[in-house]
């Protein structure tokens, strides 16, 4: 299977602090990858490197064979990105926001973007700033999906949403990504949701990737490393996510 994302010895340093340190990563096309790690572990840095908004300090990062920071335009045409703070122009209407997507992206699918918002009952003539947090997240997702991206990157997209909105958001992501054979990488702290959707997992701890691969293999790698490390280095979140994921595996391991 082709690789959607490949990183070799990838490092990113802010001053003296390593946000990512000598990371190797391989994500196959068509996978749904959960990006797991405590706050400050380096998840957002990895996602920003993938969209070319950061430049690696060392190592190589390729998205569909291209370095995002070197070939930004070509790489970004294949990537849909929803960032944690979901920045949208609050003064624009939903229709104008989608029109912006159409004008700025040559591969734009207006039908896809419009119909899914209408299905969710979001009025296109409404001002984005007057929508609820959940509705704004759906508009941001529509903007990302309307590009018909081959890779969808979601940086804690559900952090500020209530449980019902999270459910709706995730169902939408699942429907569209399955239908379009999209590769998805999503960071989230909501354990049950990650377990429900992902088939691959990447665990980042203090800027280092401690496990990466299909859920079962990654959990085994993580468990082996966690037993070697001092317990205090393993975050509660890691333990909770991977414990939950392991319970979801068919053989229960």
């Amino acid at each position: 299977m082709r690789e959607a994302i490949r990183a070799e010895h990838l490092s990113k340093r802010y001053g003296r602090l390593f946000a990512l340190d000598d990371c190797d990563l391989s994500i196959p096309e068509g996978s749904f990858t959960a990006l797991v790690g405590a706050n400050g572990a380096g998840k957002s840095t990895l996602l920003l490197l993938l969209v070319g908004l950061l430049r690696p300090t060392a190592g190589e990062l390729l998205v569909f064979g291209r370095a995002p920071h070197k070939e930004r335009t070509k790489t970004m045409a294949a990537i849909g990105f929803v960032s944690q703070d979901k920045p949208l122009y609050k003064s624009l209407s939903v229709r104008d926001t989608l029109e912006m997507g159409r004008r700025l992206n040559s591969t734009w699918d207006n039908k896809l973007a419009t119909e899914r918002l209408e299905r969710l009952g979001i009025r296109l003539d409404q001002q984005v700033g007057r929508l609820s947090g959940g509705q704004q997240a759906q508009v941001a997702l529509s903007l990302a999906l309307g590009k018909r991206p081959a890779l969808l990157l979601l940086d804690e997209p559900m952090a500020s949403l209530d449980p019902l909105s999270r459910q709706i958001f995730l169902d939408e992501v699942l429907d569209v990504t399955k239908e379009q054979q999209m590769t998805v990488m999503m960071s989230s702290h909501v354990i049950a949701e990650l377990a429900r959707v992902c088939d691959h997992v990447v665990v980042i701890r203090a800027g280092q990737i401690v496990a990466c691969g299909p859920v079962g293999a990654a959990i085994a790698a993580w468990a082996s490393q966690a037993s070697r490390d001092r317990p205090q280095r393993v975050s509660d979140l890691e333990e909770a996510v991977l414990g939950y994921l392991s319970m979801q595996l068919p053989d229960g391991k």
Binding site: G52, L53, M76, L143
Partner: protein, 314 residues
């Protein structure tokens, strides 16, 4: 990208357009009122007499109405000068800096950059649209200023220098610098209010420093023996200096040492006026505009580097 900027800022553009129209209309009304007053009180003849009488040191013989009109013109001219000198500053502080600062504060630049728009294109489109709008507004105001300037030239003994800062050539330079400065400070600072304050402080400092320290020396001044402020006519009178009998310039210290308590004439020392001739007006305007355009280009390079190497790809 142009469409996006239009949709985002169309109400803002309308507000600025209304402000420029109001300013232009005020200028034209003021000009019409002042022109009528100047004509009805025969101020032209009074100015001519004043010019002759200043050179002969006799007492002016204008009517009280003409003097009142001249006073009124000077007050109005100071107000017009302040308003028009402040217009580029307004554009830089209240149009350019918020245009960039709000985008960076809200993080919406990342939304655009993760579509198929490069950060550099994003920056250049914003600069181009902002400069285009500001130039249109400045042109509108500058055209409305032309009748007022012609009025001023007649009243100021035919000299264009007193209204130097209102001439449309330098106004373009000030406007371009103010707008690019506003955009650049906001790009670097990333905060709207701080960028507005920084733009104001930098713009006023640069303008004042240039006007006081550099403008008089853009070209070497001409020394005219016997010329005084009253006889300078259409030239820009910078001050007086002393010449010895061979025509060499003496410093005040040299003059004190030579003359002591005696008279200047006794030592062959004469007074001379230091002026920039009337014919250099447009050369000065072009040079000053080029300097401000160069400063604007420098600011743009800073903003470009900041976006390319800091904001877009740290």
């Amino acid at each position: 990208m142009t469409w996006l900027l239009y949709r985002l800022y169309r109400r803002w553009v309308m507000a600025w357009l209304m402000l420029a129209i109001a300013l232009a209309a005020t200028l034209l009304i003021l000009w019409a009122v002042m022109a009528r007053s100047i004509s009805s009180h025969d101020v032209q003849s009074c100015v001519g007499m004043l010019a002759r009488e200043q050179t002969t040191s006799s007492i002016p013989t204008c009517s009280p109405g003409a003097f009142a009109t001249l006073d009124s013109f000077q007050t109005s001219n100071a107000a017009v000068l302040a308003a028009l000198e402040g217009f580029p500053l307004l554009l830089g502080m209240f149009m350019a800096a918020p245009l960039m600062g709000r985008e960076l504060e809200a993080g919406t630049h990342r939304l655009v950059w993760t579509q198929s728009v490069t950060p550099v294109r994003w920056l250049l489109m914003r600069v181009a649209c902002c400069l285009g709008l500001a130039s249109g507004l400045s042109a509108l105001v500058a055209v409305a200023t032309l009748p007022w300037l012609s009025l001023g030239t007649n009243v100021w003994f035919g000299s264009k220098w007193p209204d130097y800062d209102l001439s449309f050539v330098v106004v373009i330079g000030y406007e371009v610098f103010a707008v690019v400065l506003g955009l650049s400070t906001a790009t670097v600072i990333g905060r709207t209010v701080a960028a507005m304050a920084a733009t104001g402080v930098i713009w006023v400092s640069v303008r004042a420093a240039f006007e006081i320290l550099m403008r008089p020396h853009l070209m070497a001044p001409v020394i005219v023996k016997g010329m005084t402020a009253a006889s300078a006519g259409a030239n820009w009178f910078l001050g007086i200096t002393y010449l010895d009998s061979t025509g060499h310039v003496l410093t005040p210290a040299q003059v004190s040492a030579l003359v002591g308590s005696g008279s200047l004439d006794g030592h062959g020392i004469s007074l001379a006026g230091v002026v920039q001739p009337d014919g250099r007006f447009w050369a000065f305007q072009t040079m000053e505009t080029a300097v401000f355009a160069g400063l604007a280009l420098g600011c743009l390079l800073v903003a470009y580097s900041w976006v390319k190497f800091r904001l877009a790809s740290q």
